[in-house]
């Protein structure tokens, strides 16, 4: 029987489980006969990815529901209640509606780029999930440069936004896109700087290493999460992440009252849905990253007799949803800022603060304090 060892990634986990069950060798030999051992590997990975994909889609749907529910909660009303139990099927209905919507491409738009933009916005949003550790061993691929990879992939989204805004040939879209990009890139800097401070402590860019580094306890009680070592870093990272997402109070890419709907004003139907999906997928991913970097990832008290994979997944989801809830809460209680304020905060407060934070962290590590 499988004992619950830690694996490097989910593929190994599957292989391990299959081996424990005792079927892996037979399957492997089967493929081996045809000289296609790697097909097996691709198969397993594909299955994993499919699971991830499904998980992301479900999560996104759930998040759209949750968002409405949280808003309703804050505003002391019910939110969607009709479709399904407590409106739980509302996202499905949304999806059906969007599929049936007309797909309008404005006459003056750049058709190719207009169609390309949803692809480019959606795919990176998925790709971010690759190195996120959902739980012990539950990671698609533990990249050695995981953190850098995440930052790099999330830097693709401004390009898509710009493409979308430009291709629409609508002034509001373009303005929204430009603002979105300005905001995105401005907040990438403190984001990346805050992440570096964490890397200094771990000495590794691998997300798994980062999570493992937070596994211990001080005095046996306080978990060694980086939020305690890096309170400033955490705050910076969280704010920057929210800004990157373009959520209130930083939602200048949309600013419904000013720019109609920002860069995707002209999008409708499934293309719009793609932006929508990407946004929520991104939200989940970013929250997951915050958890990974600062909130101990999947670490939590070990519960006997339950495989650590399962407990860790639960811990991770709990923490992540807590962060997501926080962002939604924020959305409902804080007014939108002005864009100059936003940039001022980004460049004049967060960047210097992040640099200082970095120096302090570096000093602490060099001096051997921690």
């Amino acid at each position: 029987m499988w004992t619950g060892d830690t694996m490097t990634n989910a593929y190994e986990l599957i292989v391990n489980i299959l081996t424990a069950i005792g079927v892996y060798d037979q399957i492997y030999n089967l493929f081996e006969i045809f000289g296609m051992a790697y097909v097996l590997k691709i198969l397993i990975v594909s299955v994993l990815i499919a699971v991830l994909f499904a998980f992301v889609l479900v999560t996104v749907m759930f998040l759209t529901w949750m968002e409405r529910k949280v808003v309703a909660l804050v505003q002391v009303r019910y939110g969607p209640m009709v479709t399904g139990p407590r409106g739980l099927l509302q996202p499905v209905m949304d999806g059906i509606k969007l599929i049936g919507k007309e797909d309008i491409i404005p006459a003056k738009a750049d058709r190719w780029i207009f169609t390309l933009a949803p692809f480019i916005v959606f795919v990176p949003a998925l790709l971010i999930f690759i190195p996120i550790p959902f739980g012990n061993s539950l990671i698609i691929s533990d990249l050695r440069v995981g953190l850098l990879y995440i930052i790099a992939i999330s830097a693709v989204s401004p390009i898509a936004v710009l493409l979308a805004g430009w291709a629409s040939n609508n002034k509001y879209s373009l303005l929204g896109a430009m603002r979105a990009v300005a905001q995105d890139i401005s907040y990438t800097i403190p984001l990346a700087l805050a992440a570096i401070a964490v890397v200094i402590f771990t000495g590794s860019l691998s997300t798994v290493d980062i999570v493992n580094a937070q596994g211990d306890y001080w005095f046996g009680i306080i978990p060694k999460w980086f939020i305690f070592l890096q309170p400033i870093g955490f705050v910076l990272f969280l704010i920057a992440s929210i800004a990157e997402l373009g959520r209130i109070p930083f939602d200048f890419q949309e600013s419904e009252s000013e720019l109609v709907a920002g860069f995707f004003t002209e999008y409708s139907g499934m293309k719009f849905a793609m932006f929508f999906l990407a946004e929520y997928a991104h939200l989940f991913a970013v929250s997951g990253i915050v958890v990974t970097l600062f909130l101990g990832g999947w670490n939590g008290p070990v519960i006997p007799f339950i495989p650590v994979q399962i407990t860790s997944l639960v811990y991770f989801l709990i923490k992540t949803y807590a962060v997501i809830f926080f962002t939604m809460w924020l959305r409902d209680t804080v007014p939108r800022m002005r864009i100059d304020q936003l940039l001022n905060i980004g460049w004049k407060i967060m960047v210097p603060l992040a640099l200082l934070n970095l120096l302090v962290a570096g000093f602490l590590v060099t001096a051997g304090v921690i």
Binding site: L48, I104, F122, M178, I189, L193, G203, D340, V365
Partner: protein, 124 residues
């Protein structure tokens, strides 16, 4: 098929990229089958706060956008150097730290310069 950790690690990325593209394509195609298509001239014009669109969209932008981009570029690349340093800091010891302090200080001076020169101001 080279079977090394490097490719093992990046194989999922390739697969996911393909799946992602396929998914988007399929869902767009699906909707094309299902949805109505009844274009009119009015529908095809862009939306401009319930007005008829005026003028050209490809307008000149505020110079600040470029300023921000340039400042971003510099810092982004500066960060590029910080990552390897951060990973290796424990091995580099004090000299490594102080060398990077100089680097960061130059970054800070650059930021101060940009700040003072109002490259960071949105409204001028």
């Amino acid at each position: 098929m080279p079977s090394n950790a490097f490719f093992d690690n990046y194989l999922p990325i390739a697969i996911l990229t393909v799946i992602g593209f396929v998914f988007v394509a399929v869902s767009l195609f699906m909707s094309r089958i299902v949805r109505p298509s009844n274009m009119t001239k009015e529908k095809l014009t862009t939306y401009e706060c319930a007005e008829v669109p005026v003028g050209d969209t490809r307008i000149h932008f505020n110079i600040q956008y470029y300023m921000i981009v340039i400042v971003f570029l510099i810092f982004d690349v500066g960060i590029l150097f910080l990552y390897p340093w951060a990973v290796q800091l424990k091995n580099l010891g004090a000299p490594g730290f102080f060398q990077m302090v100089i680097f960061i200080e130059i970054l800070i001076i650059g930021l101060a310069y940009a700040w003072r020169k109002e490259a960071l101001e949105w409204t001028q």
